[in-house]
Subunit: 372 residues, 2 copies
């Protein structure tokens, strides 16, 4: 039950929650996407998908670099046509991150993507046309030694499942996914990752819960699909995937946003941090400001957060606006400030060090962060 | 288990999910904050807190109007000093929304706030100084017939609980809250709302889960405290409160963000919508765009979302970028567009109506929305 207790001997970020709230990670198979492991106890991998076209190699590589700088770990690209294959080999060759080829309808595109260096395929076997064509893809990936994500989606369920009036939407998604995975296994292919997405949060949560019971060894790629624009999509993704991740379900995920692709990665990392699973920058604790606050706390907190993006130390930092919770939270954090009237009391390692005027708060905070 | 099934006879927004995923709302007491009910099966009320000072009455009323326009339902203000009481009566008198007085340390401020028209008090009994002073507040609120939120916070736990090394942080928060609530009940006061917040998501979730078991009839005010700046705070709030709301825990809540106060209310509504509990505007389903997309989908989706803010019909609207999931999702929504090369196929009520060039998509979508 305990999760929030601090001990003075360990930096806050390294402390682990324990007890019943810490769901055991599902014991899934591990597959490799390039050098990135998915499943089998590996860290949950962060994915995103390029919005650029593979015909523009330089644009794709620039976007990959931007995403890599935010610690995105796996990149997916759409291959909607033979034309899209043109730059694909060069992108796979030059990309610092492994590339997943996303293919619908035409199995020949998948076969060609394997030849050109895809680190993984993503297909929906329900729209490939025939089982023979799916099998050709399975065999090609098997020979190349790369995994395939079987991606089922509520918006593109195969007709045979869509028409089943005896099944709920969740059951249709799960039945479709299980049928495909069993076929892959019967064909001797074991490098399967599975997703079954819906845009409704509850449907998504229930589908993945059921999948994790029905297919406990298959690594799961989480997602709330078509989640919407930045704020709506962030909230839907955080609720849906947050519930699953906190229950130990999910081995990799993408936050799907109708927004700048970099936001997908930023939100993904915020989600892993909120769930206490992974963290790429120090933790910021900052209060929501109110009529008690006598400094410009929103600007202060935003600037601190911006500067923390380049700090790779396992720290917690508190930026608090007043004396109600301020001293308590500042003392709990590794470094903190509790603001008063145009000034801030600087804390480090649980003790107040000195008070500085408002304009020197950030300088003082980062001086203390540097010392740790 | 079923949640996502659509039937053609009911607008998508009005459909209810059913089965095990639909957690029963906790059967809590109902209290009234002005005309807004909290608990006892009432709709989950959206709160925010002013960042303006009560000494500037007009600034407060302007901010209240801004929040009311976004369907915020309860307003909290900080009363940190006798000076802060000066404009308080006028704010209570003129506000269209009920006002909660947030008071720490000095019980006389609470007594005076009751006299001046507070619709509710929020105190942390642990920092009021003595039980006699807490009792004076309880009695004043009881005579005025207004509720009190007992707000316990990890950053300001009373020393007697903070020092208990036999308890986890969750247990300290719950023990502190239970002790206070029992005291209020012994004094014959039944209009209690309870919060016990931490900035750590798991601690918050576990604390509220335990509180809902230990005090099943007390309405709970949810919150992840000091959640941080816009993106981090939104994700932490959505994960923590999303888990609780989906389990049927929580009767009212505030999203605490170090950001523009209006964002707190926007995120709150996104959260209620994501959990399938309440919705103030039509649902937008929009895909995250990729290399397949041949229109400017991010701009399109943002403009549709902006214009949907003033639509009060119970509709779902899909804005989809390509043929993979586009036609399926557009057909499932009440109104939708599935985009192709510089054009969009307009759907209504499950059928494609016609195709328009990209620049006429929004006009066509809203023409169809107007017809429903």
């Amino acid at each position: 039950m305990e999760t929030g207790v601090r001990s003075n001997s360990v930096p806050a970020m390294m402390r682990r929650s324990a007890g019943e709230a810490e769901a055991a990670r599902t014991n899934t198979n591990q597959v490799m996407v390039g050098k990135v492991p998915i499943g089998g106890g590996a860290a949950i991998a962060v994915q995103s998908m390029l919005t650029t076209r593979t015909t523009d190699v330089e644009a794709c590589l620039t976007q990959i670099d931007e995403l890599a700088a935010l610690d995105c770990e796996i990149i997916r690209v759409a291959i909607p046509s033979a034309e899209a294959l043109l730059g694909f080999a060069e992108i796979c060759e030059r990309s610092p991150l492994p590339i997943v080829a996303d293919i619908h309808f035409d199995h020949r595109l998948a076969l060609e993507a394997v030849n050109r260096g895809a680190a993984k395929l993503r297909i929906n076997p329900g729209n490939i046309g025939s089982l023979d064509k799916v099998d050709a893809i399975i065999d090609a990936a098997g020979e190349a030694g790369i995994p395939i994500r079987v991606g089922v989606n509520a918006g593109s369920l195969a007709h045979e499942f869509q028409l089943r009036q005896d099944l709920t939407q969740v059951e249709k998604l799960v039945a479709s996914a299980v049928t495909f995975v069993e076929h892959f296994e019967e064909r001797g292919f074991s490098q399967v990752v599975l997703s079954a997405k819906a845009h409704d949060v509850r449907t998504t949560v229930d589908t993945y819960r059921l999948l994790s019971k029905r297919l406990p060894t298959i690594p799961l790629h989480l997602g709330v699909t078509e989640a919407g624009t930045l704020l709506q999509g962030t909230v839907k993704s955080a609720v849906g995937m947050g519930i699953l991740l906190m229950e130990g379900i999910g081995d990799t995920f993408r936050v799907s946003l109708t927004a700048d692709v970099k936001d997908e990665v930023l939100v993904a990392w915020e989600l892993l941090a909120a769930c206490g699973l992974r963290r790429r920058t120090p933790e910021l604790v900052s209060c929501p400001t109110c009529g008690r606050c006598q400094v410009d706390l929103v600007s202060l907190a935003n600037e601190v957060q911006q500067r923390l993006q380049s700090v790779r130390k396992p720290l917690s930092v508190a930026v608090m606006g007043c004396v109600v919770n301020g001293p308590g939270e500042a003392a709990e954090a590794d470094v903190g400030v509790a603001c008063g009237r145009g000034s801030g009391a600087i804390f480090s390692q649980g003790s107040v060090l000195y008070t500085v005027p408002e304009e020197r708060i950030i300088e003082a905070l980062f001086a203390e962060i540097d010392k740790l």
